[in-house]
């Protein structure tokens, strides 16, 4: 009997000419839990989507139980005994559990649904793995954790021997996580092979048998998880270097506290708490890097895109809580959003219009109730040369530009507003090295001009390079604040949920 359930060799995949997976090797032992570790954007999900038949690799081969397979679609993957639970559940909300399970399956009653039989088998299966679920309840009545159980059950019911779980604990409460891990162990002991995609070290050490680490689309290493593996080792593999040297010293020291976030609580889209009593002070001429979960919700609360449940945000002694987005813009809060395609830019608009997206009402661009093309042209030309935007005449649609040039438009727009606060969320994601370097430089320029910068990035290196201080969030709470020059060890410790023992070095 083959002991290797999945073997992936030299898997390569690009999106829009950017290599997101570069010759990855992956091996999964039968009857084991295998952690797939890496930071956001490392390529974990893409690799697994290939295994599940959602994407096709450009190069490389996949062996299932020792046999070479061409997995052209999820249906094929299912027939090979592979199941996947996505981060976004593939469940129809008005349907009952059993209806979701029956969808796409051949019924034993011909064209009629075999609801009763399926429901009973489902119940038996659920009991076997100690997952309580009523096959007839509707999906929308279930909690997120229960919905996840339905997804896992569906995969098991379809006969999955190999189960891929994409960041499964992200949607669970801590109590649910414990029960969930028990279920996973149960399954493993039953002979199932499980792949656990995660960026949380703790999960690897507590449940995985083996781990494969990806970074930036490259395979870094594969380890058995035993007593010799430390979290530090894993952090180093995940992030790259131990300590980062070699960043330019800032000549301007941070000034007084200008921007305060006080005890903010907020929920995520699923209604679970994402920020818990979160507090942070940012000074003038300072970049604070933020790492950990809850970043997205933090950003949205700070810019009025999400309502907070409690807490205060104070800028220059002015309280700004749960106002309309326009209020924050007027108060000088600039925002480089995470998703430039749906949020940062109107893709079908010209570059010029995108540049003045937030000033469609304002002088000098508007005079006597009409937009002033000449003024806009002049501003465009200045900005274009200052930010080195590659464009013919500014009339082309934002859609037509490269990611780097698109980001420059956003950057120019946000920084030219002379912000009091700049919230930069993943400002360099998907950019090539030189464009990323340029963006970072501009962010630092803004800092030096007096702006308080809140930098959110999944790229730890970027955070270490730019930040005056680093705030680490874990589970919606501020775990601690580290000074410039902190080691990844210290960050890793906080990210794992170990609260800082020594009082932080807040000035």
């Amino acid at each position: 009997m083959e002991t290797i359930a999945v073997k992936m060799e030299k898997i390569t995949k690009s999106f829009n000419d950017v290599k997101v997976l570069d010759s990855i090797e992956f091996k999964l032992k039968r009857g084991s839990i295998h952690g797939l570790l890496g930071e956001n954007g490392a390529g974990k999900t893409t690799l697994m989507n290939i295994l599940y038949g959602l994407y096709n690799q450009e190069d490389g081969e996949i062996f299932i139980n020792g046999k070479k397979e061409n997995i052209s679609s999820p249906v094929k993957a299912i027939s090979l005994g592979i199941g996947m639970v996505h981060q976004h559940f593939m469940l129809a909300r008005p349907f009952s559990v059993v209806e979701n399970v029956m969808l796409g399956r051949k019924s034993r009653r011909g064209i009629l649904l075999d609801t009763k039989q399926t429901a009973e088998e489902l119940k038996t299966l659920a009991e076997k793995y100690k997952m309580e679920i009523d096959p007839y309840s509707k999906i929308w009545q279930l909690s997120v954790g229960e919905q996840q159980r339905v997804e896992i059950l569906t995969a098991m019911y379809q006969g999955a021997e190999i189960l891929i779980l994409d960041e499964p604990t992200a949607v669970l409460t801590p109590q649910e996580v414990d029960a969930f891990f028990e279920t996973l162990k149960e399954m493993r002991d039953d002979g199932k092979s499980i792949i656990l995609i995660t960026h949380k070290l703790e999960e690897i050490t507590s449940i995985a048998d083996e781990v494969t680490v990806l970074r930036d689309g490259k395979m870094i290493g594969r380890r058995a998880v035993d007593s010799t593996v430390t979290k530090d080792d894993l952090t180093r593999m995940m992030v790259g270097r131990d300590v980062l040297f070699d960043f330019p010293k800032n000549t301007i020291e941070p000034g007084e506290v200008k921007y305060s976030i006080k005890n903010v609580c907020a929920k995520n889209d699923k209604g679970l708490p994402a920020l818990k009593e979160f507090s942070l002070d940012i000074r003038e001429n300072e970049v604070i890097g933020v790492d950990g979960n809850g970043q997205k919700e933090l950003c949205e609360v700070l810019t009025g895109l999400r309502k907070s449940d409690s807490g205060e945000i104070i800028l220059n002694d002015k309280k700004m809580v749960n106002k309309e987005p326009v209020y924050y813009i007027e108060q000088g809060v600039s925002h480089i959003p995470e998703d430039r395609h749906t949020t940062g830019l109107a893709l079908n608009w010209s570059l010029k219009r995108n540049l003045i997206l937030k000033e469609l009402n304002k002088a000098p661009f508007v005079k006597n109730g009409l937009l002033q093309p000449k003024v806009i042209d002049k501003y465009w030309n200045e900005t274009k040369s200052e930010y080195q935007i590659k464009s013919i005449n500014g009339e082309e649609k934002a859609r037509a530009l490269s990611g780097g040039n698109q980001q420059k438009i956003i950057l120019a727009r946000e920084i030219n507003l002379n912000p009091q606060v700049l919230i930069a969320n993943q400002p360099t994601r998907g950019l090539d090295v030189s464009a990323a370097e340029y963006v970072r430089k501009k962010v630092l320029d803004a800092r030096n001009a007096g702006t308080s910068v809140l930098l959110i990035s999944a790229d730890l290196e970027e955070i270490l390079q730019l930040s005056d201080r680093i705030a680490v969030i874990f589970d919606g709470k501020l775990m601690g604040i580290l000074p410039r020059g902190a080691s990844t060890h210290e960050i890793g410790a906080l990210m794992m949920g170990k609260k800082q023992e020594v009082a932080s070095c807040e000035n």
Partner: protein, 356 residues
């Protein structure tokens, strides 16, 4: 500037090609029905331009169509699928007629008051659909459609009931005083000064897309996320956009009541709303494009009914041509919007998979 010209040139060429294709198919159908296509089309042309009288009729049709299509274009730019222009037109007609018939004030007050009431009535009628959308997430296609019927029956109720001309037997209100009517341009023809209002509206529209409000409207059509991010109150803008869109239709209703019919009567909107949708789309939501396609459709309609009377060719040919044009417009947009490319890609991708 050059690229702009080139672009609009391309668009115009596309529109002309689609019209030509529809006309050719129409010609074949005329032929099949045992008539001469050239004769049919010649009659349409002479029916629209043949005499001063015909020309006057042409513009009488064109005024409401243009105004309504321009209003529709505003909503569509914001991706709000208002198909209730007929209802908004009707409400505008009702409100303005009520003012003209029941309010005892000097004409110089009544006229602006009636315009205002028509704009308000049309605007509120459409705004209601906008509000339902923002408040209850009610699909505006369905609500505007329902509001059309509600307005139609409301009008019928009025002209059969409380507003019925006490002197007459017909389902219509009493006639407006002459002093209130939109003045005629020439004594012998029906064409009236409403055309000045149409021209003003057209000019206004050229400016509208250059105002912040125009940009905002455009922006919410680009996506809710980016609009919210840019500091726009999306819900409020949706309601305002719908209201402006409806106000145009309401104004067209006033125009029809005060310039053509001089009274309220059943079916006053004569199904202009659907045609105005076609005109707005054929004109690519662009003011100039709308004016041209509205002109074209007025020719088809006025000339078409003349053709029906003077030859054996049925009017349904005109409906077929109208229908074909809109289908072609949709197909062309679909091709352009890369949607079709996606389909091709999917298809090719699938074949590749199976081939492996």
């Amino acid at each position: 500037m050059k690229t702009k010209l080139l672009n609009s040139g391309k668009k115009a060429a596309g529109a002309v090609a689609m019209i030509a294709l529809a006309l050719i198919i129409g010609a074949v159908l005329v032929l099949i029905s045992g008539n001469k296509p050239m004769e049919a089309y010649a009659t349409i042309i002479s029916g629209a331009f043949g005499s001063k009288l015909r020309l006057s009729e042409l513009f009488i049709k064109m005024i409401p169509l243009t105004i309504m299509a321009l209003g529709i274009s505003i909503a569509y730019k914001a991706q709000l699928w208002n198909i209730g222009a007929d209802g908004q037109f009707t409400m505008g007609a009702i409100a303005s007629a009520a003012i003209g018939i029941y309010v005892e004030l000097p004409p110089f007050l009544i006229v602006p008051l009636s315009i205002l009431s028509a704009i308000l009535a049309g605007g509120l009628w459409a705004g209601l659909a906008g509000w339902l959308k923002t408040k209850f997430n009610a699909n505006e296609v369905i609500t505007t459609l329902m509001l059309n019927y509600i307005a139609t029956y409301f009008l019928a109720f009025l002209v059969y009931g409380p507003m019925m001309d006490p002197q007459g037997e017909l389902a219509q209100s009493e006639v407006l005083k002459e002093s209130l009517r939109i003045p005629l341009l020439f004594s012998n023809y029906r064409i009236h000064a409403g055309i000045v209002i149409m021209i003003l509206i057209i000019l206004l529209m050229f400016f509208f897309w250059k105002t912040p409000l125009g940009y905002k409207t455009d922006l919410i059509g680009q996506g809710e996320k980016v609009s919210t991010y840019a500091g726009i109150n999306v819900k409020r803008t949706i309601i305002i956009t719908m209201m402006i869109s409806g106000a145009f239709a309401g104004l067209a209703g006033w125009n029809e009541t005060y310039g053509v019919q001089y009274r309220l009567l059943e079916g006053i909107s004569s199904g202009y709303g659907d045609i105005a949708v076609v005109i707005a789309l054929l004109g690519e939501l662009n003011p100039l494009g709308i004016v041209i396609s509205s002109f074209f459709f007025s020719i088809l309609m006025v000339g078409g009914s003349c053709m029906q009377r003077m030859t054996n060719v049925p009017y349904s040919i005109v409906d077929v041509i109208k229908g074909l044009i809109i289908i072609f417009v949709i197909a062309r947009t679909a091709f352009r919007n890369t949607a079709i490319k996606y389909t091709m890609k999917e298809w090719i991708g699938r074949r590749k998979n199976y081939a492996k």
